[in-house]
């Protein structure tokens, strides 16, 4: 996917969209092969020890749980190695240990299970990727259209671990975001509902996006490419930004 150059820009020779700035905005980072998209190697404590690092696969987990369960209720950070997970905390029922306790999933307490996570290899879940061969397809990332899979009922991810009758506020407001640069004609389309099916409002507000109309400063494509704003999720786990038209449906 290197050197990727979508036809997002009109050719009116606008100065603001040439040279290095142009490259920075429209050169998307390479993504791993589909079965490894969203896989994370957690090395915070293991790199100093003899234990193999923990390989975590997002696609394995997001079939059964919405993003909010781990990234909010269980307090997992949005960046690798930033949560401060430790064996002690897992054993006490925090982080991974909140589910991996034999009641919901295999337990962190049993020594037979160590290798299931401490595999040291990003590819250790590769074989299980075929389990999702019947899911709706996309072109990029893990090549699975999770939104469609959810709508079709192929997956029934749990909405909340801690609140039994949890129902997200069905906030259904679509936003159309006007471009700020000369020469760019496309508008970004943001549907709230497709996000609230997975996320709590406060997963994004107010830290990532403040809620003031036109109040989110620096909301530009190059910042998204650096992992800010939409890029918090849409570079590594949610469909990657190579999939231009899913946010910019008016692209020619």
């Amino acid at each position: 996917m290197a050197g990727f150059l979508p036809s997002c820009v009109s050719d009116d020779g606008s100065e603001s969209m040439t040279g290095s700035k142009f490259d920075m905005v429209w050169t998307a980072k390479d993504t791993p092969p589909p079965a490894r998209y969203g896989n994370v190697l957690i090395t915070r404590l293991t790199k100093k020890s003899t234990h193999p690092s923990v390989a975590f696969s997002h696609w394995l987990h997001r079939r059964n749980y919405t993003c909010r369960v781990c990234h909010f209720e269980l307090g997992f950070a949005y960046k690798t190695n930033a949560s401060g997970i430790s064996e002690e905390k897992n054993r006490r029922g925090e982080f991974c240990g909140a589910c991996h306790n034999d009641r919901i999933a295999f337990s962190v307490l049993s020594e037979d299970n160590c290798r299931k996570c401490h595999s040291g290899s990003l590819g250790h879940t590769d074989e299980r990727f075929a389990e999702m061969s019947g899911f709706p397809k996309t072109l990029y990332g893990d090549q699975i259209n999770w939104v469609k899979a959810l709508r079709k009922g192929l997956i029934q991810p749990k909405q909340s671990l801690l609140s039994e009758n949890f129902e997200q506020i069905p906030f259904d407001k679509n936003l159309r975001l006007e471009p700020e640069w000369r020469g760019v004609k496309t508008r970004a389309f943001f549907p709230h509902l497709k996000h609230t099916e997975w996320l709590d409002c406060a997963d994004c507000h107010p830290d990532i996006f403040n809620i003031q109309k036109k109040g989110t400063k620096h909301f530009l494509m190059n910042y998204i490419n650096e992992g800010k704003f939409c890029g918090v999720c849409h570079l590594t786990v949610a469909f990657p930004i190579q999939d231009c038209r899913r946010c910019h449906p008016d692209l020619e």
Binding site: F72, E73, G75, A77, Y78, A82, G84, R92, S160, L162, S163, F166, E167, I169, P170, F171, D172, K173, D200, C201, A202, D203, H205, P206, D207, I208, F209, N210, I211, Q212, G215, T216, K217, H218, F219, Y223, G227, K228, F229, G231, V232
Partner: protein, 261 residues
């Protein structure tokens, strides 16, 4: 002269580039359950070569209503806002109004009647591992869980009788006849599709009295104080408590609970 001007400009430029926030557009670290509501008070501590005070709301709110400290004692709602000095405490103000050896441990206590033990470390504990201090995980192990904050449903804990909150402290509080709490009311949402808020005066008045919110945080006249979610996120209005100590604003549906038609 010219050189001076250039210097000023470069210094200004340096300052602006340093002051430019780079952490925008990303998720902030969420406080851990045992950290939520903890406050570091460092008005004079470090200047006097002693560790700053770590005040833990969870220890205190399991015993007293908010009102006791924030109305009767008069603690500010911001860390450092009360400008507490050691002399204040020894004179029976602020922390000293309870931490006097009667209501709670004082600056010193006697062990086995003979030896005097200094208790400084128990509060001036920033960066220290103080032995014998209450452990969050052990103390609150069997408390009803909630989604965020301390991950404790404090109201349910009180209902279940796990905690009994003291609302009057002898020698400090002056009991007045209670004013009946006004009725619950809805706060209309200004955004289409966002559920209205049902606000319960009763629930709030039980632990806060009237004085904690009125008239400073909210005017007493309904509809007079104009505020929005942005203000609450910034720690104003509801955010005065619900951003730091009471269940945090992440848990939208605890307030936005009226059905949308």
């Amino acid at each position: 002269m010219k050189l001076k001007a250039v210097l000023v400009v470069t210094i200004l430029l340096l300052f602006t580039s340093v002051g430019f926030a780079t952490n925008f557009g990303t998720k902030k670290r969420m406080p851990r359950p045992e950290e939520f509501g903890n406050v570091v008070i460092n008005n004079y501590s470090e200047k006097n070569n002693i560790a700053p005070v770590v005040f833990k709301h969870w220890i205190h709110r399991a015993k007293y209503t908010c009102r006791v400290c924030h109305v009767d004692v008069g603690f500010a709602m911001e860390p450092g806002g009360s400008d507490i000095k050691e002399a204040d405490n020894t004179n029976g103000l602020y922390c000293g109004s309870c931490h006097n050896g009667k209501e709670a441990f004082g600056p010193t206590s006697r062990e086995k009647v003979v030896s005097e033990v200094k208790n400084c470390d128990r509060c001036h504990s920033y960066g220290k591992d103080v032995k014998g201090q209450k452990n969050f995980n052990e103390q609150l192990k069997d408390f009803p869980p909630s989604r965020f904050g301390n991950r404790i449903d404090w109201m349910k804990a009180e209902e279940k009788g796990l905690i009994k909150l003291k609302d009057q402290v002898e020698g400090l509080s002056i009991k007045r006849q209670a004013i009946a709490a006004p009725k619950d009311f809805d706060i209309k949402s200004t955004i289409l599709g966002m559920p209205d808020i049902i606000f319960s005066h009763k629930i709030h008045a039980e632990i806060n009295g009237c004085e904690l919110c009125h008239p400073e945080v909210f005017s007493a006249k309904k509809g007079y104080t104009k505020y929005n979610m942005q203000d609450i996120f910034a720690g104003k209005y509801c955010g005065a408590c619900h951003a730091k100590v009471a269940f945090p604003f992440y848990d939208c549906q605890l307030c936005h609970l009226k059905e949308v038609y």
